[in-house]
């Protein structure tokens, strides 16, 4: 449990791979927007006050804006 990382914990510019999603209701919304397990996700920016986050999905495909609390539901592979 100690090593559990989510998209919220990414450093600026770092890329991770989605492992699974938590919180069933939020997961549905994230899934529809393309946050599918196996897809790469990169933290490309933060709003000036640290929240929301800017996530680039896939291979430079498109950018999503999500709140940090929402990004915390995107678990990353080790």
């Amino acid at each position: 449990m100690a090593t559990r990382r989510t998209a919220k914990d990414l450093r600026l510019g770092e890329t991770g791979t989605i492992c699974c999603l938590e919180d069933p209701e939020m997961a549905l919304k994230l899934l529809e927007m393309g946050c599918v397990p196996g897809v790469k996700v990169r933290l490309s920016g933060r709003a000036p006050l640290g929240d929301p986050l800017m996530l680039v999905l896939g291979d430079q495909e498109y950018t999503l804006s999500v709140r940090a609390s929402e990004a915390a539901n995107i678990l990353l592979k080790e």
Binding site: E32, P48, P52, E61, R67
Partner: protein, 722 residues
């Protein structure tokens, strides 16, 4: 080519559900796709109908339709549906789609759908496509932004993809219209539903699904599954139907969320298989896309806010400084015309024309420059994709007030007009966030307040520089706008404490890629808004102006004559000269007119705010629409004044109180300004709030709250300044 064109569309067998009368009506085609997939651009290309294209996800709030000439002999009705990522609606405007597509008996049920797909985002776009296919809807796939995809090294094997998906695919570029001609040819054919199925409900679900399917006589299992998922929100189901569905889902222990997640993941797996065989990506560029690099600047920690503030400042500068020149020309033109007419003719009809119609018309025309600039500015911000970044920048700032970043767009649009702004709040998924946004948006100073602000500020604030670069009047106006903004935020905070959340608030949103605004669209928006203002608001304003002129020129019984005679009797005793006599006569006649009586009845209530019965008349007429205020005072102060008394400014300056001092003191003007910042004086806004909240509770609360706030604030301002 000729062979395809010559296929007579009417000879094709009609879709079975279309009925025998169908041949008489044109094809009905629905456009559907992800937000920012170019759907609305395609709609414009097809219909040529004047309609707005925006970059902010969900600008297409209402269902819009138009007609397209597919072939010289065939027309089709095109319905533009709101952008959505799936057939499981999350926000109100997405529910429009399910209502339309789930009911084959509906009058608007489409013969087939055109699915717009962004070639750069195939995986995610195909999710919606496969759902539509499984519903059994005949479909055409419009593969948009192919040029960009090719530049990015994405190669799509179209014939293979067509085989896999089982539908015709038309590569196109909706922005410049290439590919649209080919799409029209395909659309003119009667299409059958594709035989391909991408996903079927699991065996375990079949008992439930089949029972629903046979009960409602549905044509496939997947539609039946959607009934089980969404029956609570389907508007065409009766209460009994819903109760029956609730019973069934309960009996079979149906877990909607788990099913939906499993379905979505299974669909993505299937889509990945398809894409593996049909799409090859050879990344040529390793650099970051331009859009991401622009974002680094526009959403910068400090720079982002500075740029946003700069843009807002530029907006105010444009509206209040640059617009002044054309406004002055219009004002002078109208008064010159009026003077020319009065110099050459006289009589009651000429007075009606100059003091009633022309005075009112001037009050409308003069605001065209400001309204054009404001809507032009907002259209550019939306077109370029900057609006979405604004929501990103503002989200954290808005949340303490119970609003979300998505509330910013309705609130900024509220600077133009609260009516479309309140409708724009539909994109906010959370009920609580949405209600708060709707409630406070009318507090943002809309363009109808501009006339009132401009006239009164110019009257009492000197036209001089402040702190070197700013104009004192501009600063005052900015202050009024900020007052509106802060009262909106404060009210939102109070509401946040009062309301209970019904569901959680989301902020997941896609960033549109930056692009140059399509100037034709911007020009079109400006034209439509100005036209709407002149024709709709203008009609009301001119009508009220004429009515007012009549009410102000005539009075009950002989009261006006009696009052005039009294004034004339005093003439010699007081030693008045001729000008003074005619001014006092006019004033006495107005006071005893019908309008004067209304104003007098209201006067006791508004006296503490510093207003007299003349302003009382203007306040009454303003409750139809704020901009009527200027037309009203322009008419009231015209009655009986010299024709060469020129512009409205001069008329107001000439107005004297009982002691012969200028009536419009700073205390009175600021009290009025503050009243107009807060007061709910717009029938259209109340009507749209009712429509959007489906309850009279909200518009009534707005009316009472805002007008009460206005009264108290105006009272305080007058008492402090006087």
């Amino acid at each position: 080519m000729a062979a395809i064109v010559s296929t007579p569309a009417t000879a094709e067998p009609l879709a079975p559900q279309a009925g025998s009368a169908a041949s008489a009506r044109p094809l009905r085609i629905a456009l559907i796709g992800n937000p920012n997939s170019g759907k609305t651009s395609l709609f414009n290309q097809l219909t040529g109908l004047n309609q707005k294209v925006g970059n902010f996800p969900g600008v297409t709030v209402d269902r819009k339709s138009g007609f397209a000439q597919l072939t010289p002999v065939q027309r089709a009705e095109i319905v533009d549906l709101p952008g959505t990522y799936s057939l499981y609606p999350k926000s109100l405007d997405e529910k429009v789609i399910t209502d339309l597509l789930y009911d084959r008996a509906a009058a608007n049920y489409p013969d087939f759908v055109v699915v717009t797909v962004d070639a750069n985002n195939l995986r995610r776009s195909l999710l919606l496509f496969t759902q539509l296919g499984d519903l059994g809807l005949p479909a055409v796939l419009a593969l948009n932004m192919m040029d960009v995809a090719e530049r990015h090294g994405i190669r799509i094997d179209l014939p293979a993809l067509e085989r896999e998906l089982g539908v015709p695919i038309i590569p196109m570029n909706a922005r410049n219209g290439s590919g649209v001609a080919a799409l029209k040819i395909v659309m003119a054919q009667r299409l059958d539903a594709a035989p391909v199925r991408f996903w079927e409900p699991d065996e375990k679900l079949l008992p439930l699904v089949r029972q629903i399917r046979y009960y409602f006589d549905l044509h496939n299992d997947y539609l039946a599954l959607h009934y089980a998922q969404q029956y609570r929100h389907i508007s065409f189901l009766s209460a009994d139907d819903k109760a029956h569905l609730q019973e069934l889902t309960h009996k079979y222990g149906f877990d909607a969320t788990a099913q939906q997640a499993a379905e979505t993941i299974a669909r993505y797996a299937r889509i990945n298989e398809i894409l593996l065989e049909t799409v090859t990506v050879t990344r040529t560029e390793t650099r970051e896309p331009v859009s991401n690099r622009i974002d680094k600047v526009l959403t910068h920690r400090i720079g982002g806010y500075l740029i946003f503030l700069g843009i807002l400042f530029l907006l105010f500068q444009a509206i209040f400084a640059w617009a002044q020149y054309p406004m002055d020309w219009i004002d002078q033109g109208i008064s010159a015309l009026s003077a020319a007419i009065q110099a050459n003719a006289s009589g009651p009809l000429v007075r009606l024309l100059t003091e009633g119609v022309l005075a009112g018309l001037g009050g409308v025309l003069i605001f065209i420059p400001q309204i054009a600039l404001l809507f032009g500015f907002l259209a550019v911000l939306e077109e370029t994709g900057y609006m979405a970044r604004v929501t990103f920048l503002m989200d954290k700032l808005m949340r303490p007030f119970g609003l979300s970043g998505k509330s910013v767009v309705p609130m900024i649009s509220g600077l133009a007009c609260a009516v479309p702004a309140i409708m724009g709040a539909r994109t906010i998924e959370s009920w609580k966030d949405r209600m708060i946004t709707i409630f406070v948006t009318p507090l943002m100073s809309c363009s109808a307040r501009i006339p009132v602000y401009t006239v009164l500020v110019a009257l009492v604030v000197p036209d001089q520089a402040a702190w070197g670069i700013f104009n004192l009047r501009g600063v005052t106006l900015m202050g009024l706008y900020l007052l509106g903004l802060f009262s909106a935020l404060g009210s939102a905070w109070v509401l946040k404490k009062l309301l209970k959340a019904r569901e959680r608030s989301y902020f997941i949103m896609e960033f549109p890629v930056y692009q140059w605004p399509r100037w034709k669209n911007v020009a079109l928006t400006i034209y439509q808004k100005v036209q709407a203002f002149v024709l709709q608001a203008g009609k009301v304003i001119v009508a009220i102006s004429v009515l007012l002129w009549v009410l102000a020129s005539y009075g009950p019984g002989q009261q006006q004559e009696t009052a005039e005679a009294q004034v004339r009797q005093q003439t010699t005793a007081q030693g008045w000269d001729e000008d003074e006599v005619s001014r006092r006569v006019a004033s006495a006649r107005l006071e005893t007119s019908y309008a004067g009586s209304f104003g007098r009845a209201l006067e006791p209530a508004i006296r503490p705010l510093g207003y007299d019965w003349k302003i009382g008349i203007a306040l009454l007429t303003s409750f139809a629409a704020r901009e009527v205020f200027v037309g009203t005072i322009s008419t009231i102060y015209s009655v009986g004044q010299d024709a060469d008394m020129g512009t409205l400014q001069e008329k107001l300056r000439a107005e004297k109180d009982a002691n012969g001092q200028p009536f419009f003191t700073p205390a009175r003007a600021f009290s009025l300004l503050v009243f107009y910042v807060f007061a709910m004086q717009c029938m259209s806004t109340l009507a749209v709030t009712y429509r959007e909240t489906k309850s009279w509770k909200w518009p009534m609360a707005q009316l009472v709250y805002m007008t009460g706030l206005a009264y108290v604030a105006a009272f305080a301002v007058y008492q402090v300044l006087a």
